[in-house]
């Protein structure tokens, strides 16, 4: 997945995907994230959605699964830099307030440091 960027902060795993998040990419995204979480004991996952121009319900399911996985382990999941299309799709299914959304870059940097 050449459009996938994964980096590791002191306490958090940062994941950014540029492109469409639909049924044909979510299984691979899930697999890659699982592999990273198995290799690194982090307190949080930060998902940067600024480069996602299209997301369907499979993408929503991916976000929910990451959120559930982290929370059930007593850890955190943050969504940041939501693109307008992602914001619209999450709003449609009334999940904007369900996720913890980090709005500004300073807060993202603080989570990673």
């Amino acid at each position: 997945m050449e459009k996938l960027t994964i980096s590791l902060g002191k306490k958090a795993l940062f994941l950014k995907y540029d492109g469409e998040v639909t049924l044909d990419v979510t299984p691979e995204l899930k697999r890659r994230l699982e592999a990273e979480l198995a290799a690194h004991d982090v307190e949080a996952v930060i998902l940067d959605l600024s480069g996602v121009g299209f997301m369907d319900s499979s993408g929503i399911g991916f976000l929910v699964s990451v959120n559930t996985r982290m929370r059930s382990a007593g850890k955190a999941c943050y969504l940041c830099r939501l693109s307008p299309k992602v914001r619209k799709t999450l709003g449609l299914v009334q999940l904007l307030t369900y996720f913890t959304v980090v709005e500004n870059d300073e807060d993202v940097a603080a989570l990673l440091s």
């Binding site: 049924l23 369907d56 399911g61 699964s65 999940l95």
Partner: protein, 138 residues
């Protein structure tokens, strides 16, 4: 009215490609990017449902029958020849923790009417969207 049928295999990447192809065709008639995005989401959800459920893990035929009434509306029938719909069809938004089951809810939110029916061997999701005159290319 302009009608056209698009066809693909139900594999995930091909079903997404089919939705893109239909939206590209609609781009010749519609100028409003937000409405094209709504149509793209609805088509992608309906086609993904076929990819996920219709052929019980196998691949099969997927068809989109499009009718455009310029200045008025778009009708989309998404058709498969698979196992049909299991039990009652749900258009409700599932709980926030649910990882799936939002496709038909999203379609219902973005369309003016959506119906699910079986005709002979065809399973059909029929979507109707009224589109106001300013969104059309002149």
């Amino acid at each position: 009215m302009i009608c056209r049928t698009f066809e693909a295999n139900s594999a995930p990447e091909q079903s997404r490609g089919l939705a893109r192809e239909v939206v590209a065709f609609l781009g010749a008639y519609l100028s409003d990017a937000n409405i094209l995005h709504d149509l793209d989401i609805m088509l992608t959800e309906a086609c993904a449902n076929v990819a996920r459920h219709a052929y019980r893990g196998r691949e099969g035929r997927l068809e989109v029958r499009l009718c455009v009434t310029p200045g008025e509306c778009v009708d989309l029938d998404i058709v498969d020849w698979g196992g049909g719909f299991d039990g009652p069809v749900r258009f409700e938004n599932p709980s926030p923790e649910a990882e799936g089951g939002r496709g038909l809810f999203i379609i219902s939110r973005l369309s003016d009417a959506v119906a699910v029916r079986t005709e002979g061997k065809e399973n059909i999701v029929a979507i109707h969207k009224h589109i106001g005159r300013p969104a059309w290319k002149s």
